[in-house]
Assembly symmetry: C2
Homo-oligomer: 493 residues x 2
């Protein structure tokens, strides 16, 4: 095997970087901080897109497309928003190149300077709310329920493939509502759409909750999040949904006439998930042999490897059997690849498809042909069994369902075992170094949150909304002041 | 009707601009030359994407994603390429904003200047071939068959919604091959994929052909095109496929070891269609009442309008009937919308859905309910008939097929009647002012092509490959020099 991956126990971070590249998911590009998403990685992202897009449409949203560029002045309209994004903006200043008068190549044409600089969108609230102003006159024009699939740029100083890149792909929903209640309902609905997707497709048992004020999106009144736990015990924010109040409507003067004939500002939400989900998927499930993909998101669900011998006739019979089985599986909606490359040994192929995380492997040799059997290997547990070739398609379908469930159950068990109630500061400092979520009382102040972060690097990942019971009287872990509920702390990506 | 559209005969150009905005397809944004694609317009683009994406995958291509930014120095590597794009580049020079020290808002932080400027991709050959260098070692790594769906930016001075915008959406296929023959075969295959899509889905009878050397893509050895004819007699280039030879492989040093063990440069193609197709669709089929969408691309294929009266019970019965019919149609794979808005009159709704080009309208009133009838109106011919409600779903399905065919037949008739053989320069100058394609002999030189363009604005749209017989001996329309085939001239968008 040419493509060995660092073991998780040796260096988790290097294991991740290794895996992303060696499983052909993505690689660094010639442009600082920007990645190339390779076909195999992109196929997983496409599956995510299709499923999410369907869910967005089922909840009444339509796709649209807004400009890549944002006039610089738009960013400053909402004070907190510009504060949050100004430091990581790619700025377009010119619109033409010219031949270099002093030598080779091209240089920026100084006479083609833009009157106002344009920012490559880090997120689109400002350009979208500037557009919505012309779309809304009366309550009849509301709600507006738009989503866009797009690329965005945030000039991060330290980047990692999928987890934090200067350019990334995402979807951003931007909705406009007549009432505060409706906007809060929308933001809440969408964070649960994300949670369902994470649980049922990514096999990720996320915790849904509110961010503390400190960790809110720049310009939001409330940010809801889905938080996932990685195998190294760090938390990863996998998607967020924001209630923006009337902040952007006020900044861009978006008003409507309500049913009583009065002028009011419009209420807003925004919500997004990005290619960061790819990082979560890899880190939550991968093992030392490579990726482990949940069947619901695997571009190839079953790989078939013929164990060919020297007898050409038998080899042809093997391929024929496999092709028939492939057709049966495809009729059940299962995606199959037959790996009939004749320059590689079966063992090499096994390792390659393990590295790429294909959920089920079917192997068949001359003896199987005689006995009417096939060998099935499942990627999640690495178990192998020899089974009857008769009825194997249905068996594989059931096996895929079982793998999906088992991956979720395993991740849930890991998550639940990692959530610990901690009630003293000494214990907190000790426990946080072991990873996982610490479930603690907090006095609700920004100052305390910041001090805890300074001393331990831990942040409040969320104040759980469901799935974790948190209402309880107690005392802040750091200040000892009264607290009415526990929150989840962790060190995060 | 609040939303009247200028008549085509009065001002075709204004008719188009009107239609795009009033049918809710797109609008200008606050950023010069950039458009907002509205949900209804985006839904048509999504249908185009889905169909094309399926065709690309059926022909063996995978999607991937490459960076938005291109280092400035990459552009200059291929001499013709930089010549073609340098004048319309959006250039990123800085990566941070800061609070304005002299007043409000934010300004570019001069200390955050990039070492090398980045160009927002106008097309991705350079960044992709720089990537392919690391993907290719031997003939076993070839072919590479990648496509990407992306946004690109070309800083055009005069922009029009969909037809020519500073930012547009497109797909760009980039393939790498071991032999010249294979690359030419690929480029040819893809221009025919585009032609099939245009004919069978857009109902556009395009002419497929080669561009003259003058009109080739910057860096290509051959550019193939699909050319469509708009109702005003102007041609529109709707998609192109390029054979790039080894130009980009040489510029980015992409070599492979062939089966004989020798090092060779890789052969390349690229091919793309963009949101410009939306412009072609609108201009080829629209009429003075609005859009006319081919059923294969219509987001709503059937709209149902109840003709409600004062009797609430009867109104409820109407809606019930329509809902049942909608279900039947949806079971046949047809998309249906029931317009039950109670604040608008039926006549207003009729006009609105005509404007939006919905292929079939079904209306039903109290009398229809008694008689067991419905009224069907087809958008392409504006004909209305009263038919039995019994079996109407199948009837509508057949009607949609008929509309699709009729739209193509009508456009084909228009195109064919507009192709005229012209053999004298006097006649050419006269005929070209009437629009359409002039099918003429040309001596094959750049100089002649340029002079014809100067004098008449006409360009060679293509040297037809099929569907139009062009091999014939003759004399150049302009110079009288010998010519071996006819080419198509037109004034174009």
């Amino acid at each position: 095997m040419a493509k060995e991956v660092t073991k998780r126990s040796e260096n988790y971070s290097q294991w991740y970087d290794n895996l992303v590249v060696k499983a052909d998911l993505a690689e660094r590009s010639a442009v600082r901080g920007c990645m190339v998403i390779k076909p195999y990685g992109y196929a997983i992202w496409e599956k995510m897109q299709q499923i999410l897009d369907k869910k967005f449409k089922e909840t009444g949203h339509s796709n649209a497309y807004f400009p890549l560029f944002i006039p610089k002045s738009f960013l400053s309209r909402e004070a907190e928003h510009v504060e949050g994004f100004a430091k990581e903006c790619a700025v377009v200043t010119h619109h033409r190149l010219m031949a270099n008068p002093d030598g080779d190549g091209v240089v920026v044409d100084p006479s083609a300077k833009l009157e106002e600089e344009l920012i490559v969108r880090p997120t689109s609230e400002t350009i979208i709310w500037n557009t919505y102003r012309n779309w809304v006159t009366s309550w009849r024009d509301l709600p507006i329920l738009c989503n866009q699939w797009a690329n965005v740029v945030r000039w991060e100083m330290r980047t990692r493939l999928f987890l934090r890149t200067a350019e990334f792909l995402w979807q951003e929903g931007h909705t406009a509502h007549a009432t505060q209640e409706e906007a809060i309902e929308e933001a809440t609905k969408m964070v649960h759409v994300y949670a369902d997707f994470a649980r049922n497709y990514m096999a990720l048992p996320v915790v849904v909750g509110h961010k503390s004020p400190n960790e809110r999106f720049a310009g939001a009144l409330d940010t809801m999040t889905i938080e996932a736990l990685m195998q190294d015990g760090k938390a990863l924010q996998a998607g967020t949904s924001h209630f923006l109040g009337q902040n952007f409507a006020k900044a861009f003067d978006v008003m409507f006439t309500n049913k009583e004939g009065k002028q009011e500002y419009v209420w807003a939400t925004s919500w997004g998930v990005s290619t960061r989900l790819m990082g979560a998927l890899i880190m939550a499930h991968g093992d030392d042999n490579g990726l482990v993909l949940p069947p619901a998101l695997a571009p190839i669900q079953v790989v078939m490897v013929p164990i060919s011998g020297k007898d050409a006739e038998k080899n042809a019979a093997l391929l024929e059997k496999m092709t028939a089985c492939k057709k049966e599986l495809e009729a059940l909606g299962i995606s199959v690849k037959i790996d009939d490359r004749d320059t590689l040994r079966p063992g090499f192929k096994f390792a390659e498809w393990e590295l790429k995380g294909v959920p089920v492997r079917l192997a068949m040799g001359a003896r199987d042909l005689e006995n009417g059997t096939v060998e099935l290997a499942r990627r999640d547990t690495c178990e192998k069994v020899s089974v009857d070739a008769e009825g194997v398609a249905q068996r594989i379908k059931d096996l895929l369902d079982d793998i999906q469930k088992n991956m979720y159950a395993k991740a849930l068990k890991f998550r639940d075992s990692s959530i610990r109630k901690v009630d003293t500061w000494e214990e907190f400092k000790e426990e946080i170094t072991k990873g996982g979520f610490l479930f603690c009382h907090w006095d609700g102040t920004k100052e305390t949150e910041e001090k805890i972060k300074e001393e331990t690097k831990a942040t409040i990942r969320c104040i759980p909304m469901d799935s974790v019971e948190c209402i309880e009287e107690g005392k802040c872990i750091y200040t000892g002041k009264p607290s009415h509920k526990r929150v989840l702390f962790a060190i995060s990506y």
